[in-house]
């Protein structure tokens, strides 16, 4: 049996490959945008064959591999704040291209969609619309198909998990829509298990499976439990009406395109229940009681991020880390780093270390690497919008090294002269400069995202 896979390097794709028994397929071929950045894939399952390209520029080699497959697992999609046209291009046009490529060979076809495709309206949610339209293409394909609609997926490296953790850590807990929408969190390993079972099913029989975890809770309860697990304790909360927020953001998007830091569609989950119907009759789905529940998911989310051992973020090149160490040291303490600091900074990024993450895919790290001024902009932006992100982790790592090194410790921890009045004047100045830097940073950060 031969498997053709899209979205292998994504959050669910990585979990799937981890779970897939090594001897399940005689060959696994994955369409990957940049294979050089994911060399570890080649080490799995006696070598996953990587074909560079994406769905909308479907290379001939990929067409051949897809056509030669017995089963196709289609995971690739845009996520987050992409523009509507981008969702349409990647999700709808990409699915169409893939289906056309296998129209002759007629493999079994497993398509991973989202519970959002079931929302009663998707007017301002282009991602959900595109997923819904792609489902329609799969159903009309004439192939032997299955569609899996996971609810909100959590697990190590979960993008939505990171966002919700930030929300739960906020000094004031925001409750979009009062937090009344129900959610049905599912763990990525449970999703991966269902995918492994689906790929073994022959025929698939044209089935659509809504798939959630063990428990259904409101967003309010989930965030409060997460907040407690993080150790923040009870704090103030503010209710934010979600439908007016979606309407306002949608109107702004028409003017500002994707220049906004968030998209209207990202708030749909707070406006609609995202609960999977229980289908006990489907033998391919593990019983609900055996799936991970809110307790496990919240506990894992509350634990500080640990590197994904199977897919570590690759360490940047030595010269890149040396440049970071110099730029960031100048940024923090206004002088060049001694060689020992540079060596330690680089060493912390090596495999097996409790490092900050590579950052080659992180827009704020990429922005910061451009120069001292850009580092300042990126640092200010991260302080508000990405406090747990790779850039701040790198800066904190460097700070820890600088304060532990005899030559630089004094520069880290010697007070500026003056008492309380001088301090307050300086603090006021720093606060104004910080806000100004933040505003000035916006176009640079948004510009870097569009690239």
């Amino acid at each position: 049996m031969r498997l053709f896979l899209t979205g292998a390097t994504g959050f669910v794709g990585r979990a799937f490959l981890r779970r897939l028994p090594a001897d399940r397929f005689e060959s696994v071929t994955a369409l990957v945008r940049d294979p050089a950045k994911r060399p570890e894939l080649a080490g799995l399952h006696s070598g996953v064959r990587l074909i560079p390209g994406d769905l909308t520029a479907f290379p001939a080699a990929a067409r051949e591999a897809a056509a030669a497959a017995d089963v196709v697992l289609h995971l690739a999609a845009t996520t987050g704040k992409a523009r509507a046209a981008e969702h349409e291009r990647v999700i709808v046009d990409g699915t169409r291209a893939l289906l056309e490529a296998v129209q002759e060979s007629r493999p079994r076809f497993v398509h991973v969609s989202t519970i959002a495709a079931t929302y009663p309206e998707l007017d301002h949610y282009p991602y959900g619309r595109a997923k819904r339209d792609a489902e329609a293409l799969v159903r009309a394909s004439g192939l032997d198909w299955a569609i899996l609609r996971p609810t909100i997926v959590f697990g190590p490296g979960s993008p939505v998990g990171r966002s919700l953790r930030s929300l739960a850590s906020a000094p004031v807990l925001p409750r979009f829509g009062g937090g009344h929408a129900r959610m049905h969190p599912v763990h990525v390993d449970d999703v991966a298990e269902v995918l492994v079972r689906l790929l073994a099913a022959d025929p698939l029989g044209g089935r659509t499976i809504d798939f959630g975890g063990r428990d259904v809770v409101t967003f309010r309860e989930f965030l409060e439990r997460l907040r407690t697990a993080i150790g923040r304790g009870a704090g103030p909360a503010v209710s934010i009406p979600v439908r007016p927020l979606i309407g306002t953001l949608a109107a702004l998007e028409r003017v500002a395109g994707d220049a906004l830091p968030v998209a209207a569609g990202q708030f749909y989950a707070f406006a609609h229940d995202g609960v999977a119907a229980v289908d006990a009759a489907d033998s391919l789905v593990p019983p609900q009681a055996e799936r991970r529940g809110v307790q496990e998911i919240v506990s894992e989310l509350a634990t500080p991020a640990t590197p994904d051992s199977a897919f570590p973020d690759p360490a940047p090149a030595d010269e890149t880390l040396a440049r970071e160490a110099r730029l960031f040291t100048r940024h923090l303490i206004g002088r060049e780093p001694p060689s020992s600091v540079m060596a330690k900074y680089s060493l912390a990024h090596a495999p097996g270390r409790h490092g900050p993450g590579g950052g080659d895919h992180d827009r704020l790290v990429l922005l910061a690497r451009r120069g001292t001024f850009a580092t300042r902009l990126a640092d200010a932006w991260a302080a508000v919008f990405d406090r747990g992100g790779v850039l701040r982790r790198k800066l904190v790592l460097l700070l820890a090294i600088l304060e532990s090194t005899g030559e630089t410790a004094a520069a880290v921890d010697t007070p500026d002269s003056g008492g309380a009045p001088t301090f307050f004047l300086r603090a006021a100045r720093d606060g104004i400069v910080f806000v100004a830097t933040l505003v000035f940073a916006a176009p640079f950060v948004w510009g870097s995202r569009r690239r």
Partner: protein, 532 residues
Amino acid sequence: MSWVVVGSGASAVHFAQTALERGERVVLVDVGREGPAPVRPEDGFEDLKRNLEDPVAHLLGERFEAVTYPGGDGEYYGFPPNKAFVFEGVDGFDVRPNGFAPLLSFARGGLAEAWTGGSFPFSRAELGGFPFAPDDLAAHYDLVAARIGITGEDDDLAPHVPVHAGLLPPLPLDEHSRRLLERYRSHRDRVRALGAALGRSRVAVLPEDRNGRSGCRLLGRCLLGCPIDSLWTPSVTLRELQGRPGFEYRPGRRVTRLDVDSARRVTGVVAAKLDGSGEETIPAERVALAAGTLASTKIFLETWRRATGEKPRLPGLMDNRQVLMPFLNWSMIGERHDPRTYQYHQIALALAEDDPTQTIHGLVTTLKTASVHPVVQGVPLDVRTALRVFRSVHAALGLVNVNFPDTRRDDCWVGLDPAAGDGESPLLVRYAPPAGEAARIRSVTSRVCRVLRELGCFVPPRMSHVRPMGASVHYAGTIPMTREERPFTATPGGASRDVAGLWFADGATFPVLPAKNLTFTLMANASRIAAA
């Protein structure tokens, strides 16, 4: 007569010492993980950064495991790499908690190898819940104080923290703590009107050389582990006991259960040997479990399961809820902190409640030598600006660790996993906070804020951190001492009512848990049991 004592922590070593001093023989069985030897014991904290060949590896770890990254657990400091051995787990000891984040130690000296030295005797009111007269314990407070050396003063805290014999003069105050106490004295009436009292903390540290131990040289390395043993830890006493006749230390063994005969009388201690050479049974007629509440309870439950086939749930697990409240002292802004100071709390706080058993206890630690990066990242600014702000307020920062009392409740329990097979069962630990806890935390922290304002300090809003249950490591209450004849309890003398020849010498038998660090009382109570 002889004892087999299980564990080497604060309770175990004082039980053993008292037993030895009464002419009995002691075999002390222990996992006994050891930490690295102290480096450059003559150096202060800042000297280490200059003088060590690789200070980054020493302070942050070879794998950088002591770097605290953003998005962590909200604590204001992490443990340094050389203390990692204190919390290192051991194969086969499986704990499955819910609502509780247990910290366990298999170190030589146990959890108190990483303690902050707080040694606060319980008041008579707080001892009211114990099934023996407070005077029965008083002599053992004195005895333990004489053994380990405790500094403090007879001051406004005395009504809440009784003065025992042998109290040593306190260490010199760091400048920030000095200003806080000075301000307290000038605003005493206003602070007392809030029901609060401040005074010198009681700390197990020597102010001068004594009994072969060095007096504190103000190295500022307390968190790294005092390299000259001025700050007492159980391994100090253990080393001393190892030179005494009648004492035998057997490390490398994790006690899993006791062997009992058909009359449920102890016949031996069964231990898994850490070198992988299987089990060892050490014959014993009298065993004192002092491995810490959770480990001792697990050993008891495993013994009970083997004897009866039953896996009872033992209710009553207690722990002190702790809230960390950072503050800023206006008068210290722009000052430089003195790195040559005692690093931990030098001031303690008592907050009276209508019920004297419910008195709140706080430890006031001013920021001196410390890792900067865990604090800087909490400032809501970019790292560069946050660092600049921090530099000017470092010496002005402090932290009150507010401790709450706990009581035994049915919905907080430990038990062996009923689903486990014939082998050693995982220990299930469940904890549910008491009703109304959130309101009490709000009320108490609000009062502490008012006290700090009177002391000339600012408490940043929303920066207080409610630590998860389990973080204080003051576990107690699973097999309570009581005068009532009930199963799964202990006599006032610490003897098990279920297994003959078994005594509990740690927190498992505490029937109540006042807000104070219980370690001093653990030691005194262990000594009392051994003497009885």
